[in-house]
Subunit: 126 residues, 2 copies
DNA sequence: AAAACTGTATTAGTGCAATAATACAGTTAG
DNA sequence: CTAACTGTATTATTGCACTAATACAGTTTT
């Protein structure tokens, strides 16, 4: 069963997207694997303190991407092929790295300073 | 006059926040300086293709933070003291670096790989 | 078989971001 | 002075994220 223990939900972006990305990043990290059982819509919504429809929206998008499999009445499972794994890994790593680089460059940070910032905040920061 | 030439507006976050951050990051980079003239609400809204009220909301927040000065009928100007500069630099660098680190760690990326990603996307990517 | 779970769907309502259309007051340029 | 700009304010409307309350169909457990 997938764990949502260190799920945060504080960045202001739509909750259904946060759930979607949490699962995608977990798959990329290898923490969430092919065949893993997902918490039901109702259970996860109660766990996160959000509406079941919000979870359903995230799950629906994951299913449309072929990353989970659902069928009425039964539990939902993760479906990850090697192809999809490399696909979403490239997609998310590129998106996140480019976003961070763009922001830092816009603030006039040098490449070396960027490395320093990564190191500074990698283990707690400060 | 402040330039909005490489303003992007594609990340899905509220536009008034994007404008606010664009100006803050410009100040941190030293591209936007104390005394600089801001485009008027109407001019900038036309330039970005958004509603004047959206620009006004961003400008209003900047004024509440003391980073710009407005007065009815006249143009608006940037106001930056050394203290405020160091304050927002710490605020934004910390926020952006921590966000990037959190995302990469969540994907199981190592510290060394993170450095590699920064380098890869620093100059165009690929 | 019955109970307790699953997924799925629908309808209604709230809040915020953004647009649209004005209006008014003060400043600046010709 | 007048015209053309500034900032500021108001009201109405749209769209989306999210909540709420159901309902129904299928599966699993006992």
């Amino acid at each position: 069963m997938i764990s949502f223990d260190n799920f945060n939900m504080t960045d202001g972006s739509p909750i259904y997207l946060q759930i979607l990305l949490y699962i995608k990043r977990g798959i990329i990290a290898g923490i969430i694997c092919d065949g893993d059982e997902l918490p039901s819509r109702r259970v996860l919504s109660a766990l996160l303190g959000v509406n079941p429809n919000t979870v359903q929206k995230a799950y629906k998008m994951l299913e449309d991407e072929g990353l989970i499999q659902s069928r009425t009445g039964a539990k939902s499972y993760v479906v990850v092929t090697e192809a999809k794994l490399t696909e979403i890994r490239a997609e998310l790593l590129e998106a996140d790295a480019m976003e961070a680089v763009a922001k830092l460059k816009q603030m006039g940070v040098s490449q070396e300073e960027a490395h320093g910032l990564i190191d500074k905040y990698w283990n707690g920061g400060e």
